[in-house]
């Protein structure tokens, strides 16, 4: 891992949403804890992949990192300061340094604005970035950086394919020269061929611009492609985290193991030969989370202790892999034929 001050540090981040019942006399009935005590730190130029299924809190985490949501507790620190203690002016400056790429680039682009105008907006909000005289040139440069023609600046969003629109989404995020890029399911609405284009682009840009990534997705193979480290989330909490090499060669949390085993592999010769873990049931509602370990209702290893005691993240194979499970056991990912 690179040395020096972390580019981004997240400490004990929690976010609760109140849950109301009833119409006229709305009473708060409890809380939905979308993000529960999440901590990690990222070195400059490092890419953290966050993988998890729907409802695991990964998008809420993204919104917290951008300061779009106030946490119930915890800190997001970059440049040595907590994002949530900044005044408006400082916050604006801080936000320039963290940008986001969203899932659906169509709904995130204004249909009445040309691509050039959309990119120019960034310079109007942060005028110090680029003098007026150079803006046109800079827009072209940005478009070319993401593999589009500079002439596209005059076109409107509907004139582009999904993959091209996502390139525009990336260009817009890069317009303000951020240090950190949060990507929230950036390829999950794209076709296979466009997905591969965007993944390659993101990987190239990271190397060239030394960007720090938080890359959020539900697809493990996509996350592995872009990340240096991977965190697996389940019902708001990180249940396993480690370097990509460690986590992908011996996943230790039962949930991570299940994710690997459920991942479809495009190889028909493996059919019926992989030892699959098919989890029972669905992810429980985050409103009434199971006691103790939150995964125990779907876990084949669950014992009494899992009901009583919530497991904390602990080292498994050494400093490069931690799992939150009473029975964490590293095993080879179930990706190949079982012999």
């Amino acid at each position: 891992m690179p040395e020096g001050e972390p580019a981004l540090e997240v400490r004990n981040l929690c976010k609760e949403f109140p849950v109301h019942r009833g119409g006229l006399l709305r009473r708060q009935e409890g809380a939905l804890r979308a993000v529960d005590d999440v901590s990690f730190s990222l070195a400059r130029g490092e890419a953290l992949g966050v993988v998890g299924e729907s409802g695991c809190g990964k998008s809420t985490l993204a919104r917290l990192l951008l300061g779009l949501e106030k946490p119930t507790a915890g800190q997001v620190i970059f440049g040595g300061r907590n994002l949530f203690e900044l005044n408006t002016q400082q916050l604006r400056a801080a936000r320039r340094r963290v940008q986001i790429v969203l899932q659906d680039p169509y709904t995130s682009l204004n249909p009445r604005m040309t691509i050039g105008e959309a990119l120019n907006e960034a310079f109007e909000i942060h005028p110090g970035l680029c003098p007026k005289s150079q803006r046109r040139e800079r827009v072209q440069e940005l478009l070319e950086m993401v593999g589009l023609s500079g002439d596209f600046a005059r076109r409107y969003p509907h004139q582009f394919s999904g993959g091209q629109r996502q390139r525009i989404g990336v260009a817009r995020a890069l317009a303000v020269k951020p240090e950190i890029l949060v990507c929230d399911e950036p390829v999950s609405s794209l076709d296979v061929s466009a997905q591969a284009q965007i993944l390659s682009l993101l990987r190239t840009l990271q190397r060239e611009l030394n960007l720090t990534y938080v890359f959020i997705a539900h697809d493990l193979s996509v996350v592995r492609y872009v990340s240096d480290r991977i965190a697996v989330m389940y019902l708001g909490r990180i249940v396993e985290v480690g370097t990509k090499e460690e986590l992908c060669s011996h996943p230790s949390h039962p949930y991570t193991q299940a994710l690997f085993s459920a991942a479809p592999i495009p190889d028909p010769t493996l059919r019926g030969l992989r030892r699959r873990i098919v989890l029972q049931g669905d992810v429980p509602s985050p409103i009434d989370r199971p006691s103790g370990c939150r995964f125990r209702t779907r876990c084949w290893k669950a014992k009494d202790v899992c009901q009583e005691l919530e497991p904390a993240l602990q080292e498994v194979t050494g400093p490069f892999l931690q799992a939150a499970c009473h029975f964490a056991t590293p095993e080879a990912p179930r990706l190949a034929a079982d012999r």
């Binding site: 076709d191 296979v192 492609y225 479809p264 592999i265 098919v278």
Partner: protein, 349 residues
């Protein structure tokens, strides 16, 4: 062997001679918009054997879902029109049947499930009512018997506590459970064919595995043919016997599944296989197909994939390649299909 274009192999207007349970022949579908026409399906032919799983693989806009709707007679918009082709089922061309008769086939003999189960289910009726409707409408079963049959079916597709959950509404179920309800409805009358249009795309990975397992075991139990419409090469590898790869409203390659993954015979298929990041392999850089899919409102001469194809030669822009035999039970629509298959041409997109 002199190659024969796939669509000329059988005589025009004749039902299939061999054991196919469903056959699509030379299907064309258009969408007429105000100022232009989208050519969504341009001469697609395939047949499905009894008990077989046929994957129809393609990206958005390839015409794979439109084909399914044309078979079912559920093309939603008045602007959509089947302009040519036949759909043979049980000795009859479904496209020529009057709507009354077609409705009897739909649901009873051919079932369909969609990607988005929430919008496919009616929000104001209980799930057992909707499953039971299949028995009431098609089999004339009385209400109480239909209700009992619905609960039995819910148990069969693995909905826990089915009896108690029978009177719940669609929104009270999770995505995976709703997809099970859709499957229950589609299979209620033990159809000969099930068309599954992206059945697991909207689901979480761990739930996706459950649904695929369920579909496979029910298919084996009932011996029905399954048309699996998907964009996911992993799902195809897991489930299908044969695969049709679609591009721009046409079939560009057809093959038994194992053979296709071992040695694809169309540059587009080669590109797709190289575009998927694979957990079971060292992560080399992906080799994406360049460019974007073609504008379906323009009928251009030549191969529709040629603008994105690294093998494209002058002939490709001039002459559209036919879907021709390239090996035993394999066809490919490429002027260079033999060299692609043998790996002597580097078909990078």
């Amino acid at each position: 062997m002199k190659p024969v274009p796939a669509h000329l192999q059988a005589e025009e207007g004749q039902p299939p001679a061999h054991g196919a349970v469903l056959e699509v022949k030379d299907l064309f579908v258009e969408f007429r918009l105000r100022d232009k026409t989208v050519h969504a399906v341009n001469g697609v032919s395939w047949s499905l054997g009894r008990g077989e799983t046929l994957a129809v693989l393609g990206e958005s806009g390839s015409g794979k879902s439109v084909t399914a709707h044309a078979i079912m007679g559920t093309l939603s918009s008045a602007r959509a029109k089947v302009t040519a082709g036949q759909v043979w089922f049980a000795g009859r061309d479904l496209l020529t049947l009057p709507e009354r008769e077609r409705r009897r086939v739909r649901g009873r003999k051919i079932g369909i499930i969609f990607q988005d189960s929430l919008s496919a289910l009616n929000p104001v009726f209980t799930v057992s009512n909707q499953i039971g409707e299949m028995f009431r409408f098609h089999a004339g079963m009385p209400r109480r018997a239909a209700q009992r049959a619905a609960v039995g079916l819910m148990e069969r597709v693995g909905i826990p506590d089915a009896k108690r959950r029978a009177n719940a509404y669609p929104h009270e179920f999770s995505g995976g459970m709703r997809q099970r309800i859709m499957i229950a409805m589609a299979l209620a009358l033990e159809p000969d064919v099930l068309i599954a249009d992206e059945p697991t795309t909207a689901l979480d990975v761990t739930v996706q595995a459950q649904i695929m397992e369920l579909l496979q075991s029910l298919q084996q139990e009932m011996g029905m043919g399954l048309v699996l419409i998907t964009h996911d090469l992993g799902v195809v590898a897991d489930m299908a016997d044969r695969i049709i790869v679609m591009y721009a409203g046409r079939a560009v390659e057809e093959s038994p599944v194992r053979e296709l993954y071992r040695a694809p015979a169309h540059p587009y298929t080669v590109g797709l296989l190289r575009s998927v990041p694979r957990l079971d392999q060292a992560e080399d850089d992906l080799q994406p197909i360049g460019g974007a899919p073609p504008d379906m409102t323009v009928v251009a001469p030549g191969c529709p994939f040629s603008p994105r194809c690294s093998l494209a030669a002058e002939v490709c822009g001039r002459e559209r390649p036919l879907l021709l035999a390239v090996a035993e039970s394999r066809t490919s629509a490429c002027h260079f299909s033999h060299s692609v298959l043998e790996g002597t041409a580097d078909a990078r997109g």
